[in-house]
Amino acid sequence: MTRSRHIAPIAYVLFLMVPLYWLITMGFKTNGEIAGQLTLWPHDPTLQHFAVIFTDRAWWMGYVHASLYVSLNVIISVSVAIPAAYAFARHDFPGKRPLFFGFLLFRMMAPVILLVPFVQLSLDTGLFDTHIGVALAHCFFNVPVAVWILEGFISAVPREIDESAKIDGYGFMRFFIRLLIPAIAPGIAVTAFFCFMFSWVEYLLANALTAVEAKPIAGIMTRAGGVLFGDYGMLAAASVLGFIPGVLCVLLVRKHLVRGFSMGRVS
């Protein structure tokens, strides 16, 4: 097989990378250069935009807030999904298919549908502008995702491990923690990755459910976008930093990524 066979994916990846290159270089350009003319690399490179983000609490806390609610969401989603996925993978019970369908239905629902009640409920329960409030709101699409992926991974584990655990006199909790969880560890990593991804990129709810104490970076950028009107250097620098957590996570789970995309159904 020759390299030329793979021209299409390589060209596609270049198409993906060029805008990213543009964004990164823009973060290092002065606003004068950005507004002046098209330059392919920063002629007068500056760290000024990044310096503002790292020194101004209002900016960098945006990343902290986003990381906090995303982490909380990943923990909640994955921990409630593991037992549920096990039930779907190993048990037959009445209403199993409709219930599974019900879960998936929520994944397909858009945040915009639930925007109004979420704002209202979070104000009523005191969860407005808290990290846990956003984390819980994001559960409605991430719990189904987690159940879906983990169900695939658990189904791929031979039933013999359940049987042998019983024979060995393992209690249920012991079986779960000692045998099942290690057996699906890559699945858990991939599931966490997907939950991270969907929560990290969501903007509408995260912005609407927060004001100051839990405002994610995207919300701060929106505000800055209005105030800084045309300060593209700042927006580019803030965007570049918004990529980094995602890239790190991809690198962490890269070995299992493809399997994750097949919902655990490919070994």
């Binding site: 097989m1 066979r5 793979h6 994916p9 390589i10 990846v13 993906l16 964004l23 003319q37 909640i76 409630v80 999904a81 037992p83 549920a84 096990y86 039930a87 048990h91 019970f93 369908f101 879960f103 998936l104 239905l105 929520f106 629902m109 858009a110 915009v112 549908i113 639930l114 925007l115 109004v116 009640p117 819980l136 559960c139 409605f140 719990v143 209690g171 249920f172 990290w200 990129v201 903007y203 509408l204 970076i217 995207a218 593209y232 965007s239 918004g242 990529f243 957590p245 995602g246 996570c249 991809v250 690198l251 990524l257 493809v258 399997r259 995309f261 097949s262 919902m263 159904r265 490919v266």
Partner: protein, 293 residues
């Protein structure tokens, strides 16, 4: 509960207990909020305290509103165009991917990056790419003798589709690629013995095996592009005119800016029924595909 009882009273109690945490979370974070939406959709409110049952009044208002019709048509049009571009393109790229090795890993990791980009950042990115005079995209178009005019409806649509393709085609590629990797080598060996053409390998081996993942890709792409919000709003503010005002913009505008709770909720319920219909269709497809597999 103790581990012992779980093992003894298996098959009824055990799944119920295992499912309880997930169901509770979904009730609190999904079902109850949706209940509120359904309630608002059939009530009128004065200052958010007194609610008056108004039956289907809001639904009539929404369904006869030409703003809603057009927003719906634009959203459906955008979704279908996005699918028409991204599914074949993603499938083609996946078929051309190396099956394994260093190049494959580099490609997979690179492809995942746009998927991890916050929607708002995608919007800003493409906004700066399309800046007049200094945007890279504008310059590329100019090189090709075209002028990317963000005041033109057609160019704005092309630009938004390009952005969505950049953002989401990878999802199709990675799903299809995962599906391809699941096809055992024996199938290809058998095809080689039969001297099958590349087309018949695709038509009779790969495509049938990919049915399920392509259905998943199509449904995810359809649902997500149908409610695209932040990206397009950042780039176009719904314009020029209302040419890129989509369903979600209409909904957010109605519910949170005009404070028409009932009307906004009625839109949300209508949207929910669309989701339900498409999801049921999809679920039947998946069930069939799994039965065949």
């Amino acid at each position: 509960m103790s581990a012992k009882t779980a093992a003894v009273t298996t098959n009824r109690l055990e799944p119920a207990l295992l499912l309880t945490p997930a169901i509770l979370v979904m009730l609190a974070c999904g079902v109850v909020p949706f209940g509120f939406v359904a309630f608002y959709a059939v009530h009128d409110t004065f200052a958010g305290n007194d609610f008056l049952f108004v039956g289907l009044q809001w639904f009539k208002q929404v369904l006869t509103s030409s703003d809603f019709h057009w927003a719906m048509l634009r959203s459906l049009g955008f979704s279908l165009l996005a699918l028409a571009i991204q599914i074949p393109l993603g499938l083609y790229i996946a078929l051309r991917m190396p099956r394994s090795g260093m190049l494959a890993s580099v490609l997979v990791v690179s492809m995942a990056i746009p998927l991890l980009t916050p929607t708002l950042v995608v919007g800003y990115l493409w906004k700066v790419l399309a800046l007049p005079n200094t945007g890279l995209l504008t310059a590329v178009f100019a090189l090709a003798g075209l002028s990317l005019d963000m005041n033109s409806k057609i160019w704005t649509w092309i630009m938004l589709l390009l952005m969505d393709t950049w953002h989401w085609t990878s999802l199709v590629v990675l799903l299809a690629y995962a599906g391809l990797k699941a096809i055992p080598d024996d199938y290809y060996r058998a095809a080689r013995i039969d001297a099958a053409s590349a087309w018949s390998v695709f038509r009779y081996i790969q495509l049938p095996k990919l049915k399920l993942v392509l259905a998943i890709a199509a449904i995810l792409r359809f649902m997500d592009s149908l409610v695209i919000y932040a990206e397009t709003y950042v780039v176009t503010r719904g314009g020029p005119g209302v040419s890129t005002t989509f369903l979600s913009h209409e909904l957010v505008q109605t519910a949170t800016i005009q404070f028409d709770l009932g009307e906004g909720s009625a839109m949300a319920v209508i949207y929910f029924f669309i989701v339900l219909a498409v999801a049921l269709l999809f679920f039947r497809q998946v069930t069939n595909a799994e039965r065949q597999a």
